[in-house]
Symmetry: C2
Subunit: 340 residues, 2 copies
């Protein structure tokens, strides 16, 4: 299995680490190694058909700021120059144009390559186009880490809950907002809580994407399209962020044994991100930077899963889970007549 | 796929309902039907090689109290008289001897049949023997519904989290205890809360198995053996129930923003069921009859899943999920050279 990694920021580096850690797993489970044959960041690349050392890539990125020794001007030309089986697309999210990620994913799928991404831009903007392209070309296309980092919501629905009819989903899809709201539960003002989130590295200097609900809305789109087979895009989501939640509202909720959480919802009549009252003790009343998603099914009832919504290794673990699931599928297909 | 159902109480009836509801799913996914070719309860059975109607079975059970028209004295002889592929064992739990369930499961595995059960007795007492027997005879052996009903913890670990090293598990594994503790959070005494649980049908007339922690302990054993590959049995679990929790203890916890929950734990140094302090807003601070389990993994961190811990259709949904997973495995194997 030869992997091309496009993007070598936090998640790309986390993936390289995880791959090095799990080399034995791949040997045991599939009898073969998984190798990064090419790694690109925004301006440089490295390639080796026999596999690049994750450790060397990480070391070079750390010391020089670049993953590769060679410069490039067109990522598609780099991709064309490499023999690979699967693209791991983890370049920065651009929810206006889809950015380099969209271009790279399209190019890989058109060339018949499997793709794993955590890049919300292409998924929130062009989901149906990309799924159709993947199907047409017989490619696997997975994106567990794009929603809720390590929280395994998409694969849970695809695997363990495959026999259920899922009617709706409600979830805490942004850890930064949940951190801020949890701090407000403890008496902080919105401004204090936001400042602490920035100091802790949870919120960016410009926190707009998080606190206005745009990041959650991207995830609502991804879940609506992937779990509910809708055909929706970012502009279809009704979005209200958390900037106008006052300490008074939080106190009033608390006096009724409730908390306020930013909830993304996909249901028959709603595609929405908005602050909601949640009873204390409800699976969506959790505090801190965790993400959580609850699906309502016809047989099992409500099933909730929660986990870390971000983080270098945590998000990379979702890529690992997608990679194993693709390799299981491919093993079944490719190895069909080899091990009767 | 020909199924023999042993046990036709709440869960057996729920399974028959679910099978009728999902007939189309099996046709679509596997191109074939799933039929119940034999159903047994404690004293009667019905068998038909061409498949019994779930609706007829349910109707007869309802009107006559028996699933079948024929009496039997030895369940193993009934099993031997039927051609079947998979046993669904849902007879009553006996955590002292393993009961009829243990005998039936052994017999099916020895005959090379796949087995799905939600029966905690055989699993808590003879897990390793049964797993070894299944392996030796090339059988699939699944038991998702034995822990937490509809909560998909075992299959989650086996599927989505297969790339993770799971170091420990903590969970709310008994909905009756969680209901009682939640009511005590709201000011009821233990006795009042237990009485309400009995009135609601959550607790039995003799609530010992639940409130003394024995039921949770069975589930701890099943999780320790299945997820952590231990070789432990019921008597290895250190058990403290909830009977000595006072309203004062609940109030003291609340004054520190904590709740008391009955937690089952599997970790390197603990195999235990005991009341624990859980911070409000923690994924294990949930209220009501829900079950929840949190596994701690090396890459993804803590992952929590929650769902309904009991119920006719809810528990049957876990059997459905096991059935689909077995049929996926068998399809892969049997169909290997047919669809290249």
């Amino acid at each position: 299995m030869r992997i091309l990694v496009s993007g070598f920021g936090t998640v790309g580096q986390g993936f390289a680490e995880v791959l090095a850690l799990r080399n034995d797993l791949f040997k045991e489970r599939y009898g073969k190694e998984v190798a990064i044959v090419c790694a690109m960041d925004s301006s440089s690349y490295a390639a080796d058909p026999s596999g690049l050392s994750p450790k060397d890539l990480l070391e070079r990125k750390k010391t020089t700021g670049k993953v590769g020794t060679d410069a490039y001007s067109d990522s598609l030309k780099v991709m064309d120059s490499v023999e690979y089986d699967l693209l791991v697309e983890v370049s920065p999210t651009d929810i206006v144009t889809g950015g380099a990620g969209l271009k790279n994913i399209r190019h890989a799928l058109e060339a018949g390559k499997d793709v794993i991404t955590v890049n919300k831009g292409p998924l929130a903007l062009r989901f149906c186009e990309l799924i159709t392209l993947a199907k047409k070309n017989g490619c696997k296309f997975r994106f567990e880490g794009s929603v809720g980092g390590a929280m395994p919501i998409i694969n849970l629905c695809r695997e363990s809950l495959v026999g259920e009819n899922i009617s709706s989903m409600r979830g805490i899809l942004n850890g930064t907002c949940n951190f801020i709201l949890s701090k407000m539960d403890n008496g902080q003002s919105f401004e204090q809580a936001l400042k602490e989130a920035q100091q802790m590295g949870y919120a960016e200097t410009d926190p707009t994407n998080d606190i206005e609900g745009y990041d959650s809305a991207c995830k609502v789109v991804i879940l609506a399209n992937s779990i509910f087979k809708r055909n929706v895009t970012f502009s279809d989501v009704k979005i209200t962020g958390i900037t106008s939640i006052t300490s008074e509202a939080i106190s009033l909720a608390a006096s009724h044994n409730m908390v306020i959480r930013l909830i993304g919802e996909v249901s028959d009549d709603r595609l929405e991100v908005s602050p909601r009252l949640v009873p204390r003790g409800h699976p969506l009343s959790i505090t801190g930077t965790l993400n959580a998603a609850q699906v309502v099914t016809d047989l099992a009832g409500p099933i909730t899963v929660s986990g870390r919504g971000a983080g270098r290794v945590e998000t990379a673990s979702a890529i690992l889970s997608d990679l194993i699931s693709i390799m299981d599928d491919r093993k079944e297909r490719g190895g069909r007549c080899q091990n009767p």
